[in-house]
Subunit: 346 residues, 4 copies
């Protein structure tokens, strides 16, 4: 059994990680930390875990994290980077669900996250935990940076086109929506039910932290310069990301060519489902499931344009499920162990 610790077990990604690990046959959760809730049973905060988990929250320093085989960080940004070096020194492997190790460029990180990075020397070592891109490197990774939720959906949607040079990468447009769990579980007026429900709005048009992440990952697989317009939106639902992606085609490709490119690129991938041409993936088809579904379209009357639709559950393939997928790879387990549940309907 893999002994796992979770730093930051009060929020939505922490709760989802606990839910997934409860059903994982090779993992035992031995520590869950929270400064604020230390001493309180985890199942008091998350009554859904009554009968599943007897642990109490502990202060991070008292939780025995250095005795774990793996520690997951389900913390806000700028927390993990202060604790990771000591864990790595103690030979504990780390899966970070936060943003701290997603960018390789410490200056870029500092610009977008508003403070200097605490351990820039680890940015190069951290493996960006998108198995569809970095599977080999994940096997031996000591430190994995799980991608952001938008980046997972958007990168997986653009990847076959940009990698193969099928589109002009300077013309990318990504209009994407997220459910409310993407904003976390902290008290705020803006995320009250009365503010969010029965409404729809964009946010972060002037600059969202996932923009440099997406751009950097796509630039890494592109020969030409990447230019991306990214507009995130908030939709009144709990879970799910849907990305509507646009690009200008580089050459005269038809829908069959594009479909073939997607099928080729994701052949054998256990967590990416290329749907038949013309499909309209719903976010609920992946609710609770570690799957990304993509569908490719050519819009009527605009043969030089391509539209890709991509959906994930932001808490699963966009966070905690992908973290488990990465852990499985790191420990030589079947990549989807514990991640077998289909989407929940309705």
């Amino acid at each position: 059994m893999i002994r796992a610790g979770i730093v930051g077990g009060t929020g939505y990604t922490g709760a989802e990680l606990l839910r997934l690990l409860m059903a994982h046959p090779e993992v035992e959760v031995v520590a869950v930390t929270s400064r604020q809730e230390a001493g309180r049973p985890v199942s008091e905060l998350h009554p859904g875990l009554r009968g599943y988990l007897e642990l109490e929250y502990r202060e991070p320093a008292d939780a025995g994290l250095e005795q774990c085989d793996v520690v997951f960080f389900a913390t806000p940004h700028a927390a993990a980077m202060h604790a990771v070096p000591a864990l790595l020194d103690a030979r504990v492997r780390v899966v970070d669900l936060s943003a701290d190790f997603r960018l390789r460029d410490a200056e870029l990180w500092a610009r977008w996250y508003g403070e200097a990075h605490a351990c820039p020397e680890l940015l190069e070592e951290a493996v960006y935990g998108l198995p569809e891109l970095n599977r080999e490197a994940l096997h031996d990774a000591q430190l994995v940076a799980c991608p952001g939720c938008y980046p997972t959906a958007i990168v997986l949607g653009f990847l076959p086109l940009v990698e193969a040079g099928l589109v002009d990468p300077a013309t990318l447009v990504a209009d994407a929506v997220t459910g409310v769990s993407g904003a976390g579980r902290k008290a705020s007026v803006a995320m009250l039910h009365g503010e969010v429900s029965e409404s729809f709005r964009a946010y972060g048009v002037a600059g969202h932290r996932h923009l440099p992440e997406i751009s950097a990952v796509l630039q890494g697989v592109s020969a030409a310069e990447v230019g991306l317009v990214f507009v995130p939106h908030l939709v009144p639902m709990n879970r799910g990301i849907h990305a509507t992606l646009h690009a200008r085609l580089d050459g005269s490709l038809d829908l069959a060519d594009l479909q073939a490119a997607f099928e080729r690129r994701y052949q054998g991938e256990p967590c990416v489902d290329v749907m038949p041409p013309g499909s309209l993936p719903e976010t609920r088809s992946v609710r609770g499931s570690n799957m990304c579904r993509v569908a490719v379209h050519q819009p009527p009357g605009q043969p030089q344009q391509v539209v890709v639709l991509s959906v994930i559950d932001n808490l699963v393939k966009g966070a905690s499920g992908q973290a488990v997928q990465n852990m499985n790879l790191m420990f030589g387990l079947d990549e989807t162990l514990g991640l077998v549940s289909p989407g929940m309907l309705p």
Copy 2:
């Protein structure tokens, strides 16, 4: 492996049964029927099952149901009763999620369901599939009638009080709410999103089919005559039943006595969670989970009254999960095999 067939695999209980059985280590789903969708891949109707299930819907007659070890009926009422006798003759065990075998009295059934029962002789043989009440009988059952969703939540809430004679059973009041999946997946104006969301209403006040079922089950465990007012309501959410139960106490009991009665009655029950006194169970704490959570209260200034709150997921403990729990008992498996997932948050 248990070879399982599902009759009526297009609705919400059928879909949920498929989701649960995909993760069940001892069951192989070998047939899913639908007259309307025969020939269509199941995963085309339920894209969440893409990659999990390769079957197509079949006509019931062509589905090879008589070669199954167990057949689940996830059909509207008045369908199973026409097909069950032949299956029992073929020594196939049957778990019926519909209402056809829930009442023992054929006349009562006919009155509430508007037609004569097709096989009244089986009503006595059918075991009412509430494991907390009938566990022993379920081991050898050939035909199990899974309780309705409201009856599950309401009976489990009243059971410790009525069985032990702690309340006057003539004074029962049950105000309960259901999420929309309780109404099934058929085209209707009344259940459109635009009709249901942002509204709340009672229905069936003049007589709901679960009223005779609840009354009969409670009467079966009560020495005195049961009188029940039952008001169901529709709440704009997908899943969940919440019952607020009232009764007049028979004698001078305090909250500690009542709590003790509940804890005693449900000690060791794997799928009923008696919460600490004063708890306020949320339906989401059981979303996707085969658990019933109950909490007992005494209202301020009214020491002769008791209030019980009871929640289930109507599609799991209220339907498909309870069906699997029953199947596990019938086949001598661990009662909760395949039912281990905690509630999904959010």
Copy 3:
């Protein structure tokens, strides 16, 4: 034109009051206060008011409230009671939407609101602003205490039965639900969209502040002692209260008698709609509208019980609309002036 001021214009009742007063032909809003937002345009916080209202929020002390004809308090409890005496001295009439003047008994108020009342001498003078009960007294009122949202729905539902002695008032049960706007617009984890949506739960079972208010008002019209069990619940929708009311009938009344009693009691009432027997009022039928709809039922097999269903919009008839109705009466206007919009569908 009536010059109106609003103290506390940032929350939901303040916003709804502004919306209603924008369409009122005899009112000019001349001041809106907020300590926190002083100096900021009201329409910046409430963009729906762009083009309707040019005012900025002011500090209460600088807002010129004493020059108003009427001041509305849309504040949390324990604020109005500190400011009202000075306004009354300045001959400004006051409509308080908060709880400060709803109870006549200062000790009871102190017990439920956790502090001593600041001006207990005004409790007797304040008129409880339920026009269906106190219309005459409202004409000359200087200080009106608008009823709570639950009390409005529940009192209007029980009133014809209790006043006329048709039920045993010791047996009242009220299971009621509210939309999220009832909890106000302050930052909290419990009211996040991710916490509220797709779930249903009771709250305040151990004692809700509306319990003594409802009991006192009903006791005021009842010959015998009132005993009430009140269980409030939270439903994932923005607006609306639905109350399901139970009582034991005192004598042998049938549904026609009960219907006649309701129709007689509310004949000519412009803001109470007695629906035909058997009706199932939906909260959305009163969304945005100052109407209370009630329907009376006798549950099947329980002829000694009565069930009343009562719905309002908690922000309109349960708060801001009733405040305007009261103001209309105070200033001798048509009672429904500015309150003519039917419910919004969907």
Copy 4:
């Protein structure tokens, strides 16, 4: 008083038209038709209208429509075109909320709506009822074709850019979402609450009927050829359209230039609100209100691109409110008479 008839008063646009006209001081609704509901009180189907409207539904032929001053068609497409010629002959003015007279090209209409147009000779005479484009022509119009909901939001968002030649009109991308009321009020599985809520999906990517309408209107104001990618999406809320619009700038314009262009174009427009630069309009800010709010942005790092956000209530400015605005213009009334309510929050 203007005597108004409504053909098709059972759906959402019909209900919204009734709600708005109830509050219109110069209109009396004298007839509401429905083949299916003929003989039934309108307020039985729409209980929110109890106390406001005493009419029963009538068969269109018996409703006395030719005695009206104006008849609104709130029907599915391909109904109005069969009835309009006779009404025009009877000198009744017509406001059609359906699609029948939105396109000028009868062949194009036939291609997208699947049948020949019944009165192609009227297509030229019909005035496209977007006041911001055709105000003058509306004064004398006998037949007004109200724009579709998406076209209203998208055309008003692109108009200042395309009219003035500020963008390359061949590069337009419109990702837009609608609430469920856009799909109407007919029984369907796809629009059930259980299918729509907690999910998000695109639809009509292969060709939506609003695409030729938007393209034609924009082409009408553009010197160069218009090319548009239009992807509509369904969002789990009742009302609202949000359009996220992209285009490539033609020249070196900065955000101030773009903002000035919008403010200039919509100066004095009573139903278009150009928000300050950087604003993020929410659909709820226009709920129940006949306003379109637009905000212009330049995305970070992409100075050659412009993003416009545009929101309306699909049932008000996108349908019934715009119909009233058109009627006001046709009858020489103040353009916003009866349309003064601010958006409803929450």
